[in-house]
């Protein structure tokens, strides 16, 4: 190294300047390193994996919905509600272990607490007709066309009190009518005593299967045809809001009558049941004051009459999903086929 104190060795100025420049260059290199690190930080971030969390949640809800549907459809006898709930719990436990395993492969811990599951009592009302072997939508004992399906159905919090109300109707069985005068056609009425919502199913002028809806408080002439389909038979999903598998936005079961403003419960009625034939299923919430009309619906399974069997209306259970970056917990409510408010 040069001796800076020796006056005979000139060049101190250049030497000092060289050191200073070296320091500046080192600083620049460090800054470039920071910039590279920043780029690295920017590109390595792959989100927190909330998609996996939401995927787990929907798998749990869909899977539990399928289990509830299958167990309800197995038609347990009256008094076998404990057996039904036990089997649903077993199904949920099997689902939990499968989902847990699949979450484990993504380095996540997922858990559905099946032991903490709570069940909401319900009844499945069913009439076993099909499009090929249609039966009229009349009551069980005396084939009356105007009858009450269920009374005092109470909502609970966000949940509704009727779900999975699906009917298959044949076009030939329906009454020809129009939206301006549908009174003679088959219709489903939802009423809370002071207001009533009507859904008419009829054959429209062009021969198609049509659904007309009359909101509470409107005159019959205010009925509007919300959708139609040209077919020999079609599936009307009253709670899911579809006709023939196509979305039908105007068909929202119960309208305001079954909406969150109604807290006292509502009744579901059938009118002109002899003007429609096919088959149907619906699940109603019998917790609280809700009940299926015993006189009109058979208490035991029947080949050609509407009947009821015990069902799970809804099940709630806590789920939890954890990874190094995200924690998610929720108590999910599963009621497949319920109308979204």
């Amino acid at each position: 190294m040069a001796d800076l104190m020796d006056a005979e060795d000139r060049g101190q100025l250049v030497l000092v300047a060289g050191f200073a420049l070296a320091v500046v260059l080192v600083a620049l290199v460090l800054l470039a390193n920071t910039a590279i690190f920043t780029e690295n930080l920017a590109t390595r971030d792959n989100g927190v994996g909330e998609r996996e969390v939401l995927g787990y949640r929907s798998s749990a809800v869909d899977g539990a919905g399928g289990i509830v549907d299958r167990e309800n459809a197995a038609e347990y006898a009256n008094g076998e509600r404990d057996l039904l709930e036990g089997n649903v719990s077993d199904g949920l436990a099997a689902l939990d272990s499968q989902l847990r395993e699949s979450a484990g492969r993504n380095a996540a811990s997922a858990r559905a607490d099946v032991n903490a599951a709570t069940f909401t009592n319900g009844s499945l009302v069913r009439q076993n007709g099909t499009a090929d072997d249609p039966r009229q939508f009349t009551n069980a004992s005396d084939d009356r066309p105007d009858w009450t399906v269920a009374t005092g159905l109470e909502r609970d919090g966000d949940g509704n009190a009727t779900r999975a109300f699906v009917a298959v109707v044949t076009s030939s069985s329906l009454e020809p009518a129009s939206a301006s005068d549908p009174d003679d056609a088959f219709h489903v009425v939802v009423t809370n005593g002071s207001a009533a919502w009507h859904a008419y199913v009829y054959q429209n002028a062009s021969g198609g299967i049509a659904v007309g809806v009359k909101s509470a408080g409107e005159p019959v002439s205010a009925t509007s045809e919300v959708c139609s389909v040209a077919a020999s038979n079609a599936t009307v999903d009253f709670t899911g809001g579809s006709l023939g598998g196509v979305d039908c936005p105007g068909l929202a079961f119960g309208g305001d009558v079954a909406g969150s403003a109604t807290t006292d419960g509502y009744d579901v009625l059938v009118r002109n049941g002899d003007r429609a034939a096919g088959g149907y299923d619906l699940t109603v919430r019998t917790a609280g004051s809700g009940s299926v009309s015993t006189g009109n619906v058979s208490a035991t399974p029947s080949a050609d009459e509407p009947y009821r069997v015990p069902a799970v209306y809804a099940v709630e259970f806590p789920i939890e999903y954890r990874t190094g970056e995200v924690t998610y917990a929720e108590t999910v409510r599963v009621a497949p086929g319920e109308r979204d408010d």
Partner: protein, 166 residues
């Protein structure tokens, strides 16, 4: 800066006396002047270079800091929005964690979360006073908070999203 250099033996260089027979006492003056001029110009050039390089380093540092804070801010914003999506899906207990450097370009920084529509995240470097603002539109309200940079956690508590130090 330094003393003006003198000829070693107080006379003109031997080479110049040998190649130029006409001896002149004024020749030394020219050499001294030339040294002073050379040194002065060199000093001027070098200090100009240093000043320019220093300025370049400073502006580079600010740029790097801004860029790094933008990255951190955007990642924090994406975590806030991810937490918002999880809350919207119905989550009752939601927490999202993020790992970030404690210093950026050698300087610590602060994170200020401001509620509003949309909520904003402002990062300020303590050294360079460089500040970056990133928007984080969420449906869930966001709590107002200020914390120092580093690992953070977005927690859903009391109906709002809160950014905390992890």
């Amino acid at each position: 800066m330094t003393d003006s250099p003198r000829p070693r033996d107080g006379s003109t260089a031997p080479s110049s006396s040998s190649t130029r027979p006409r001896a002149s006492r004024d020749r030394a003056t020219a050499t001294t002047l030339s040294y002073v001029l050379t040194l002065g110009i060199t000093a001027l050039l070098i200090s100009g270079l240093l000043v320019a390089a220093g300025g370049a380093v400073e502006s580079q540092r600010e740029d790097t800091t801004r860029e790094a804070m933008e990255v951190v801010g955007q990642q924090l914003s994406s975590r806030l929005m991810a937490a918002d999506r999880l809350v919207a899906a119905g989550g009752s207990e939601v927490s999202v964690r993020g790992t970030y450097p404690e210093t950026i370009a050698g300087s610590t920084y602060s994170i200020a979360v401001e509620p509003g529509s949309p909520a904003t995240i402002e990062l300020t470097a303590t050294g360079t006073r460089v500040s970056v603002t990133v928007a984080a539109p969420t449906r869930t309200p966001v709590a107002e908070t200020t914390l120092s940079g580093g690992d953070v956690e977005v927690v859903y508590a009391g109906g709002q999203l809160e950014v905390r130090e992890a």
